[in-house]
C-alpha cells in the first residue's frame, strides 16, 4: 500500500504533492493501482487512446493540413496594372482594337444562337416545360417525361424508357393522332406481339387532340393520365395537359427548336 502511495505521488505535479488530491480520490487510485489487472487495463486503455489520437492527428494532417498547405504554397501572380504609357503605345492600341473586335464578333455570333422564333425548353428532372416566343417566356407548366424504366424480357430484348436530351426540331404536327403501339407496349402487358399491321396496334384517343413529332418516334402529346403530370412516367415521349398542348401546337411550327435537358 505504501509503495503504491509513493508511486502516485511521483506522478503528481510539484504543487499537488502531499494533500492536493482529495483523500477519497487518492485512496480510490491506490485501490485501483493495487490490483495488477486493473493497472494493466488502465495502461492498455491509455496506450490505445493515445494511439487512436495519434492516428486521428496523422489522418487530419494528411487529409486536411497537407491539401491546405498546397493551396498556400503556389506561384506568385503578376499584378495587373493600368500603365498610361502603354496605353499610348501604337502597337498596344492595335492589339486592343483587334481583341475588342474579336470579342464583339464572338458575342454577336453567340447571341444569334438564341432564335427570335418560338421554341420550347423541357426540363426532364423537374418535369416542367417553358415555351418561348421572341425570346420571351410565354407559358410554363407541368409535363411528364421518360420514367427511366428498363423493360427486360427473358430473352435478349430490352427497352429503356427515357426522354432523349439535347436539341431537336419539330418534324411534324398531327391533329387527332392515333397511337401505333410499338412491340414494347405488348411485351409490357404480357401480350403476344402482333404483326406490324394488325388492328390491335392502333389505339385511338389516348394521345390527346394533337401530337408534335421530334423524331425517332418521340412525340409531344396529350394524356389521359393527367394526375401523373410533373412525374417521370412515360416511355420517352413528353406528355402535356390539353390546354398546354393546344398552346404549344399553335405556337410551334415545323422546324421549331425543342431543347430537352
Amino acid at each position: 500500500m505504501d509503495d503504491n502511495s509513493s508511486y502516485m505521488e511521483e506522478g503528481l505535479p510539484e504543487g499537488n504533492r502531499g494533500g492536493a488530491v482529495p483523500e477519497g480520490l487518492r485512496s480510490l487510485f491506490d485501490k485501483l493501482f493495487a490490483s495488477p489487472k486493473v493497472r494493466k487495463v488502465i495502461i492498455r486503455t491509455s496506450v490505445i487512446t493515445g494511439g487512436l489520437l495519434a492516428f486521428l492527428l496523422l489522418a487530419a494532417f494528411v487529409l486536411y493540413i497537407v491539401p491546405g498547405m498546397q493551396e498556400v504554397v503556389s506561384a506568385h501572380r503578376p499584378k495587373l496594372l493600368s500603365d498610361p504609357e502603354l496605353k499610348e503605345d501604337k502597337n498596344y492600341k492595335k492589339q486592343i482594337s483587334a481583341l475588342s473586335g474579336e470579342v464583339q464578333r464572338l458575342s454577336r455570333k453567340y447571341a444569334s444562337y438564341t432564335s427570335g422564333q418560338s421554341y420550347i425548353v423541357i426540363n426532364t428532372t423537374d418535369n416542367k416545360f417553358f415555351l418561348y416566343r421572341n425570346k420571351k417566356l410565354i407559358r410554363t407548366g407541368l409535363c411528364s417525361s421518360g420514367s427511366y424504366t428498363m423493360l427486360k424480357t427473358e430473352g435478349e430484348r430490352k427497352w429503356i424508357f427515357k426522354t432523349p436530351k439535347g436539341k431537336y426540331r419539330i418534324q411534324g404536327k398531327i391533329t387527332s393522332p392515333v397511337w401505333r403501339k410499338p412491340d414494347w407496349a405488348f411485351v409490357e402487358e404480357g401480350l403476344p406481339i402482333p404483326s406490324a399491321t394488325h388492328p390491335s396496334r392502333y389505339e385511338y384517343g389516348v394521345l390527346g387532340d394533337y401530337a408534335l413529332s421530334i423524331g425517332d418516334g418521340y412525340l409531344i402529346h396529350g394524356t389521359l393520365y393527367k394526375r401523373f403530370l410533373g412525374m417521370p412516367v412515360t416511355h420517352g415521349c413528353i406528355r402535356l395537359n390539353d390546354e398546354d398542348l393546344e398552346a404549344i401546337y399553335n405556337t410551334l411550327a415545323v422546324g421549331s427548336k425543342v431543347y430537352i435537358f
Binding site: V66, Y92, L99, V103, Y113, V121, Y148, L151, K257, F261
Partner: protein, 267 residues
Amino acid sequence: MENNIEQAPGKNRQTGPVITAVIITVILIFFTIMSLMAPGKKLKEIRLKFGPEETSENQPDERLYSDSAYMALLKERSFFQARTSMAETDSVYMTLNLSDSTANLEISGVTVHSVKISSFRFSGILKRTDDYAISSMLAQPMNITGDLATIKKEPLMVKMAPKDTSEFKPDVIPDTSNYEPVNYILEMDNGIRIYVYQTTDTLKSNNRRRFYFDLRDRLSTAWQYAKSAAMFKVPEYHPFIKIRLPKADAKIIYRALPRKGQVAVYM
C-alpha cells in the same frame, strides 16, 4: 554485466516506439514535401502548354500580360471561344461564370437553365497562375472524363416483362421524394476538378453524408499521392473549383450533363 542484461528488454521497449515514431515522421515529411511539390509541377505544365509562345520571330510585349484592360478582353474572348465551340454541338453543356456567380445549362447557345452560385472557391494555383495561361487554357471547352456523385445519373429501374397477362401489374406511381443529398465531382480532361455541393441542408444526416463524400475524395487523393511518393514521383495535382448550389439545381445540372459533357469557365 548483470545490470546490462536486466536493462536490455526495457531499453528495447523504449527504443521500439521511438524508431517507429522516427520512421513515421520521415515518411510524413517526405509525403508532405512531395505533396507540396505537386502544385508547382502542375503550374509549370500549365505555363508551358498555355503560356505566351516566345520564338525568335514572335517576341510578345511582356507589358501586355500585366495590363488589366488587355487581360479582361482576353478572358472574355476565351469564354466566348469555349462557349461557341460547345454551341456547335446539339448536346447539353455547362458554363460557370464565377465573376457574376452563375452556373448555366446551355444547348446550342441557348440558356435553358440558370442558377445563382451560392458560394465558390478555387485552387490557389488558378488564382496565382498568370492570367494569360489560365485564359488560354479556358479558351477550350473542358471535357468531363469521369464523375463521382451521391446520386445516380440515370435512376434506372429494371422491370421484368410479364410472361402473360395474368402476371401483368400496372406501374406504380414513382417515388419523387427528394431525400438524397446532392454532391458530385466532375473530373475534367485538363486535370481540373469541379466540386458541386448542395447548399447547407437542414437535414443533419445530409450534412454528415456530404462530410463522408468529401472524406472519400480526400482519402482517394491521399492514396494517389502516397502511391506516387512511394515511387519517388511528384504526384499529379488537380486544381479545383468548388461551388455550392441549391439542391434542386445541383441535381438538374448533374442529370442533364452527358457523361462526357463539356464545361466552360470564366473566372
